[in-house]
């Protein structure tokens, strides 16, 4: 009697607790003892680093010792880069482009020309890169950035006829789709810059400017493609589209070289790679080094002939022309060098301070017994 009631209790109890587990297997059921694995018992082997004087202080000194030379190297490199900048916006009445900047109109058919003279104190030895720079120009404005149709620019015929809605209000004009559509394309930088060297004897020599090879390879060959593939007759391809409102020519008239025309025009591609900041420079032309003997740009006087088309005065923008050589770290930018030197020095200094503090207090505190 006793034994039977005991069993019944056991079974019923089991039954009710683990109802879902089906018929219980009786007393020989599997033990509920948890597995003895390092993971389940939280005994996984581990590396337990702590911030000790032995690791922190050397780290500071080493960082200091590494950063300072890097910084010096960067600084020197940056200083060795020749860079020349000329602002041709024409804000002052005295500046040669003042008139042009005053009488601007998108639609004027007569180009306004002005010439800015300047002189280089030092010769530019290697390849020289010619940039145009714009200030206070918000190419990174959200609505501006998205106002383009990458499918269209990639040669998609459907998008050519029916550009993305993002392009509004530069999506269509006169009931024709705009190619290339959008605000970015519409505001393509269209000043023409020409550079002349003024010999000491007064002759103007035009400096040859290379206009190919200024865009990223991926942009030129992958991202931007003319519709119709290898069909070089772009006029046909772009049939039925219209030019952007501000443009004077159609997109297929940008250049005579079919490799550099239409969407794959490199000036256009460079412009379409929007800048991160409101002050930016974009590669305009390359001045190739001719020989080892003569500098690419000898010191002396130069004239920059500008065909002034691009209005920036209304929003207090600025236009500049920059001539620059480059190095392994790109253009002139002393910031990185200075920053490295500063951080390195601070590190070193901090290391010393911490070392002193550690000597004064650290040992006392760390060896102190743990109170109960």
């Amino acid at each position: 009697m006793m034994a039977s009631s005991y069993n019944a209790k056991e079974e019923d109890g089991h039954h009710s607790v683990s109802a879902a587990s089906g018929p219980s297997a009786g007393p020989s059921a599997k033990s509920k003892k948890p597995d003895n694995t390092a993971f389940k018992q939280q005994r996984l082997p581990a590396w337990q680093p702590i911030l000790t004087a032995g690791t922190v202080l050397p780290a500071f000194f080493i960082i200091g010792l590494i950063f300072i030379p890097i910084g010096i190297g960067l600084f020197v490199t940056s200083n060795n880069i020749r860079e020349f900048e000329v602002d041709y916006t024409g804000v002052d009445a005295s500046s040669p482009c003042f008139t042009c900047s005053q009488t601007y109109s998108w639609n004027s058919s007569i180009p306004c020309k002005c010439a800015v003279s300047f002189s280089l104190e030092q010769p530019f030895e290697s390849n020289v890169f010619m940039y145009y720079g714009l200030s206070n120009f918000y190419q990174n404005h959200r609505r501006y950035v998205k106002s383009r149709d990458d499918s269209q620019l990639n040669g998609d015929k459907a998008s050519l006829r029916n550009p993305s809605k993002e392009c509004e209000p530069y999506r269509s004009h006169d009931n024709k789709p705009i190619a290339p559509c959008g605000a970015i394309a519409n505001s393509l930088f269209n000043d023409t810059l020409e550079l002349f060297y003024i010999d000491p004897n007064g002759t103007r020599t035009q400096i040859p400017l290379v206009k190919k090879g200024i865009a990223w390879w991926t942009d030129k060959h992958v991202k931007f493609r003319n519709p119709g593939g290898n069909n070089f007759n772009l006029t046909v391809v772009f049939q039925g589209t219209t030019k952007p409102v501000n443009w004077r020519k159609y997109v297929y008239e940008l250049d005579t070289d079919p490799e550099n025309n239409g969407f794959v025009n490199e000036d256009f591609i460079v412009w379409m790679r929007t800048a991160a900041l409101p002050t930016f420079r974009k590669l305009y032309r390359i001045i190739q080094k001719k020989s080892n003997m003569t500098p690419t740009l000898p010191r002396g006087n130069y004239t920059l002939d500008v065909t002034y088309n691009y209005p920036v005065r209304s929003f207090e923008g600025r236009k500049r022309m920059i001539l620059s050589t480059i190095s392994w770290m790109g253009g002139k930018n002393p910031f990185l060098g200075i920053a490295y030197i500063t951080v390195g020095s601070v590190c070193f200094f901090l290391g010393v301070v911490l070392l002193i503090i550690h000597h004064k207090y650290g040992n006392r505190n760390n060896s102190a017994d743990i109170p109960n």
Partner: protein, 1212 residues
């Protein structure tokens, strides 16, 4: 309780109309169906196949976070606002919803399964005159069903008839209220007469009227109309669902309440929803963050308006949309920035928190060191959302019986005639520690010995065998002077039913040493003395009560000698001893205090031979007094006093109330962790105090242990005040002052600060005093005094009071409380505390079912708190800090960029990076940290319990920490934005081409950010397992892989408009200055943190730093803890008296009516595994408690008698 009531109230409201009265006609389904009573099918599941998706989604969107993201999603589809593509929100949202839905779904499938299992149980239903086997779910109100032995009761039934005489049935209610003793129910005679007669039963047409469904388990009112007569019905005639039929062959019952309307179901359901303090703080923080978000967006929106105003002419290149002026543009920008900056409240935060908690709960389930092999019980985290709170416990409220103690009494030591027995000494005279291996005394000479009894001192057996007269008298006394009852099922197999386990232990000791109490009748006691059966005539029992603290019997030996045997509290017995034993008294006193020092419960034993003639006259007077009409008690007491005089001391017993293993060590560890332990027990003061001493809660070294036992409010107040002034005289007589006011989410609450006192104090407070002290006017006084003491013991408290004490501390202390208990009487406290822990495998399942964590032994509590709790807290805090850091840093960069992009809500990063940042790039490393991190391993955690203290003080995550976190991310975001900004300003690639374009800059900034936050994670992580390494490096690798993949030609050509960043990775990441910038940015982000942390460690090292430093130094495991020898306290002058029963059963024992029912049926009710086998089974405990908590402790004393009364009454 309140919640239960409210739940009930809710249920009533939900019902179609409130049922006023229930009317049932037996065997009349048509009639009963008119009322649309619930059928017996239960449904705990929430969804079905079709309702799952809509219902679940509806529920999920009720969560504020999900709703917020839905709102964002709606914003994102408005073109004028949309600053991010829709997928940045949809992808995470869908993922989160899917994970939650999967979890809810699997939970619900389990509920379906268990519902189906229960609903498909079989029961016999009387239909059309024959018994048919039906499923439970098909049973309806008004049906008559037949139950058989050990069946679960199908629904709430009115008992009609049973197989047992007098229509009794025995039921076990453990699942209902946790009481393991059997209860009796009896049917009405008129229905009982129907017996097993199916014809009569099916013709039964009684009409029942009763109360509507409710959740009161202890009450039932109704009437039965049958054969023109009206019978009243009460709880004694009702079988509730959830009970089990025991020792009853069969019974018939009429279904009153079925399915969801049964009292069990009305009582079930987790009514309390607990949230951790981190949760609450997180909600507050999220609100702050929202405010902050609105602030940031407003600033940027104003910025946008101004920009539009000043740079209005940029419209040459970028015309405004129709009808948008500068102000309106600002308004649109506001919403655009809400979208962009939404990552300050990341959706993945909530999901990650849940995952971390779940993971840490699994660790608890998996812990082998919290697995109790003897009952095959692993620890279970029943709630998975409270883990980090385990690391912040400040107050523990513990039950005593079954939690601290095993509720097993063992006869451990005795002192007989000035000689102490029970200790074992080695050859050098050194006292040996008792272990499992210590050789036990061989009782084989005694065929009636209880094989489970163990004793280690051989000298006592020798003394018995040598027929030492005092030793014989000692055990004879133990065999005679008690109210236990013996039962012999088979020859030599004795089972004692004792009223208290103490008494059982004493009688069993006597039995094993050769004085076997074998049986009793009202007039005789027969014992087997050293193999010879002797019958003593039982003349009188001078019963035990709380005032007398002793009991005596007067017996006549077979030789005709009259003797009085007395056992009782040493203090009481000593006053009544013959002067001649003063010498013996001295020696015995020494032994008694030694026993007391060991935490044993002591009783002094004395006897006296009586003169026949004197006894006759006394008996005469006794008879008169016991029949007296007035002052009977006083007269009897007087008579007892008269005869219990000039007794001769025999010796003393020491009974050990066996503590569970490791209790005192655990308590010591917890108190080193600055956790205060309050014991709340229903036991008597002496017993509670005794346990207090034996488990180190109270110590001899304590400056003072205050006892509050006043019986009026003034007295209690005075006692509390006196105690307080003694501890801290400067607090003065004045009223309680409240030193602090806290504000939690606008709700002002008074807070009582901790007050430091010199010295250690203990407080023992009695239940009836507690009732006054818990009054509104006095609760602050109580709390203040109690909190000054190191230990607080409340005895004789009701379940409701237990909860009130917990509530009191919760209300006035900003502290996390934990309640631990095993019985149904602890349920209220377990539910009230922040965290409830149930000791499983003891009394019923009630405590476990309402608990948040359960395990088998009290000692696992230290592992739960000091290891799992601490780690969980640490991990959660680290997680939150880091999570906020990484998201704020991520988001603030947008804020800085706004000043350079015309406040146009342009993002800094690629949209795909924004989508994947929280989900892919940074999810696993931080999860890895929060699942694996540990500052020091478990052994060191035990070595230095002080490591627990920062948790109690909320030191790892607080508003200050959060503010620091915000500042830190502010700094990091400045670095992450402005270093790339300056480095890229007007610069070009090494071939003269563009590198300062937006896309390259985005790539640079996001790479800097990701590397910086990864390194920050590395700094935060203290425990680098292989998994962590894999996650961190893997995430970085995945970042680069994904970046190169989505910036590749192929994907651009397939999805041209979605992946415009083609070629950026290739063209940018091959630049030396880009990498130099990344290096500089990361170093600048990390350096100040390293310097700051190092400085802190040097100047103000935390306990954590010190221990980690020590770990580093010793390189190995901590020294093994010193073997804890039990400290002997000899200075004690305290009485170790404790006896767990309140009122003797003397009158029952001597009454001729006692125990018609064999008590054996009762003992079988206990599962021998639940209690240690063969030991004495407690009675009285937890009886009389119902989860509704409406009872006073007065009833508790009564109900243990019910057992006897129940049988007594019918015979009258």
């Amino acid at each position: 309780m309140g919640s239960q009531m409210s739940l009930f109230g809710l249920h009533c409201l939900k019902g179609k109309e409130k049922e006023e009265e229930r009317r049932i006609r037996a065997n009349n389904r048509e009639y009963n169906q008119l009322h649309k009573y619930a059928t017996n099918a239960i449904k705990t599941s929430k969804y079905n196949m079709f309702s799952f998706l809509p219902l679940n989604l509806f529920e999920q969107f009720q969560r504020i976070a999900n709703a917020y993201f839905l709102f964002l999603l709606i914003l994102q589809v408005i073109p004028a606002i949309s600053s991010l593509s829709w997928f940045t929100t949809v992808v995470p949202l869908v993922l989160v919803l899917a994970v939650s839905a999967a979890k809810d779904g699997s939970d619900d499938i389990n509920r379906h399964k268990s519902d189906r299992q229960v609903n498909n149980r079989k029961v016999k239903v009387l239909l059309n005159g024959e018994l048919r086997t039906e499923k439970w779910m098909d049973v309806q109100v008004g049906d008559i069903i037949k139950l058989e032995n050990n069946h679960f009761v199908t629904a709430d039934l009115l008992l009609l008839s049973s197989s047992e005489p007098l229509n009794l049935v025995y039921i076990e209610t453990a699942e209902l209220d946790g009481e393991t003793n059997l209860k009796v129910r009896q049917a009405l005679t008129i229905t009982g007469d129907m017996g097993h007669n199916l014809e009569m039963l099916s013709a039964f047409d009684g009409e029942l009227r009763c109360e509507p469904p409710n959740n009161r388990l202890d009450r039932f009112t109704g009437t039965l109309m049958f054969q023109g007569q009206k019978f009243s019905l009460d709880n004694e005639k009702v079988l509730l669902r959830g009970c089990t039929l025991r020792n009853t062959e069969w019974c018939f019952g009429l279904v009153i309440f079925a399915g969801p309307e049964t009292k069990l179901m009305q009582n079930s359901g987790r009514t309390t929803f607990k949230r951790t303090s981190i949760d609450r703080m997180m909600n507050a923080l999220v609100l702050c963050i929202f405010v902050f978000l609105v602030f940031m967006c407003t600033v940027l929106a104003i910025g946008n308006s101004i920009w539009e105003q000043q740079q209005g002419d940029f419209t040459t290149f970028l015309p405004r949309q129709d009808g948008v002026n500068a102000a309106f543009s600002g308004f649109l920008t506001f919403w655009s920035y809400v979208i962009i900056l939404n990552t300050v409240v990341p959706i993945s935060l909530y999901v990650s928190v849940e995952i971390i908690r779940l993971g840490n709960s699994f660790y608890i389930d998996w812990d082998r060191k919290m697995y109790y092999a003897r009952s095959d019980t692993p620890a279970v985290a029943r709630t998975t959302t409270l883990n980090e709170e385990l690391g912040q416990i400040k107050y523990i409220f513990s039950d005593k019986t079954g939690t601290l103690t095993q509720n097993i009494m063992t006869f451990n030591k005795c002192s007989i005639n000035g000689k102490c027995y029970g200790d074992v000494f080695d050859y050098s005279g050194q006292r040996l520690e008792m272990t499992e291996e210590t050789e036990k005394v061989d009782f084989s000479y005694n065929p009636l010995a209880d094989p489970k009894f163990s004793f280690h001192d051989h000298s006592l057996v020798e003394a018995v065998k040598l027929e030492n007269p005092e030793v014989h008298a000692f055990f004879r006394l133990l065999a005679l002077c008690h109210t236990a009852m013996a039962e012999e099922k088979t020859e030599g197999e004795l089972l004692y039913q004792a009223q208290s386990p103490d008494e059982g232990a004493l009688v069993t000791a006597a039995r094993n040493f050769g004085f076997v109490f074998r049986s009793r009748t009202p007039e005789t006691i027969s014992i087997v003395e050293m193999g010879i059966q002797r019958n003593y005539e039982l003349l009188t029992i001078l019963d035990f009560n709380n005032v007398r603290k002793r009991m005596s019997v007067i017996v006549r030996s077979p030789e005709g000698k009259l003797s009085l045997y007395c056992k009782g509290a040493d203090t009481v017995v000593y006053e009544r001893l013959h002067p001649s034993c003063s010498k013996l008294m001295e020696v015995t006193t020494e032994h008694l205090s030694e026993f007391a020092g060991d935490g044993l419960r002591t009783l002094a034993l004395a006897y006296k031979d009586l003169d026949e003639s004197y006894f006759e006259s006394w008996r005469q007077r006794h008879h008169e007094a016991s029949t007296a009409l007035d002052d009977r008690e006083d007269k009897l007491d007087e008579l007892y006093e008269e005869i219990e005089k000039n007794m001769l001391l025999l010796g003393a017993t020491g009974i050990e109330d066996k503590l569970q293993d490791g209790v005192s060590h655990t308590i010591e560890q917890l108190s080193r962790a600055d956790i205060k332990i309050w014991v709340l027990t229903g036991d008597k003061q002496e017993t509670a105090e005794n346990i207090g001493y034996s488990c180190n809660l109270l110590r001899e070294e304590m400056s003072e242990v205050f006892t509050v036992a006043g019986t009026s409010p003034e007295e209690v107040r005075q006692e509390l005040r006196t105690a307080r002034i003694k501890m801290k005289p400067e607090t003065g007589e004045g009223n309680v002052t409240i030193e602090g006011e806290g504000e939690i989410l606008g709700k002002k609450s008074k807070l009582v600060q901790d007050e430091a006192v010199n010295g250690e104090y203990g407080l023992v407070i009695n239940g009836h005093s507690l009732a006054y002290a818990l009054d509104k006017t006095m609760e602050l006084e109580l709390l203040r005094t109690a909190c000054m003491c190191k230990t607080v013991i409340c005895c004789r408290v009701t379940p409701l009071q237990k909860a009130q004490v917990v509530e009191l501390v919760k209300k006035y202390k900003r502290a996390v409380t934990l309640a631990i208990g095993d019985g149904a009487n602890d349920v209220s406290m377990i539910k009230a505390a922040h965290i409830g822990v149930g000791i499983s495998g003891q009394e019923g399942m009630q405590a476990v079912l309402s608990s948040d964590y359960s395990f088998a032994q009290f000692r696992y509590l230290q592992r739960l708190l000091l290891v799992h709790g601490r780690w969980s807290y640490l991990r959660m805090c680290k997680f939150l800090c880091y999570f906020f850091y990484k998201n704020f840093t991520f988001t603030f960069v947008h804020f800085w960029y706004a000043f350079f992009c015309g406040f146009s809500a342009q993002t800094v990063y690629d949209e795909w990076f924004i989508t994947l940042y929280n989900l892919v790039y940074t999810a696993l490393p931080v999860l890895g940290m929060s699942l694996f991190d540990q500052d020091v391993n478990d052994r060191w955690s035990f070595q230095y319990p002080q490591l627990y203290v920062p948790g109690q003080l909320n030191m790892y995550f607080s508003k200050t920490i959060f503010a620091k976190c915000v500042l830190h991310s502010g700094y990091s975001s400045l670095v992450v934005f402005f270093i790339p900004y300056a480095a890229m300003y007007n610069t070009v690639r090494d071939n003269g081409k563009d590198v300062a374009d937006y896309q390259s800059f985005a790539l640079l900034a996001q790479t800097c950010l990701l590397i910086a936050v990864c390194i920050q994670l590395g700094l935060d992580m203290a425990y680098w397992t292989a998994v962590n390494q894999f996650f961190v490096w893997g995430s970085l690798a995945v970042y680069f892989a994904i970046t190169f993949a989505i910036y590749s030609n192929g994907i651009f050509l397939i999805f041209t408009s979605s992946f415009p960043f083609i070629g950026v990775a290739r063209n940018t990441l091959n630049q030396a200055n880009v990498w130099l910038t990344i290096l500089l940015t990361t170093i600048l982000c990390v350096l100040p943190v390293v310097a700051y942390r190092f400085l802190l460690m040097q100047l103000r090292p935390t306990i954590n730093d010190k221990v980690r430093f020590k770990v580093r130094q010793t390189k190995a495991s901590p020294p093994p803890p010193p073997r804890r020898a039990r400290i002997r306290r000899t200075s004690s002058r305290r009485s170790g008296y404790a006896f767990s029963h309140a009122q003797g059963y003397g009158d029952l024992v001597t009454s001729r009516r006692f125990l018609r029912r064999a008590p054996v049926s009762r003992s079988t009710a206990f599962s021998p595994t639940a209690r240690s086998p063969g030991k004495f089974l407690p009675t009285g405990r937890s009886a009389g408690y119902s989860p509704t908590g409406r009872q006073s402790n007065l009833r508790q004393d009564e109900t243990s008698l019910q057992m006897y009364r129940a049988v007594k009454d019918p015979q009258i």
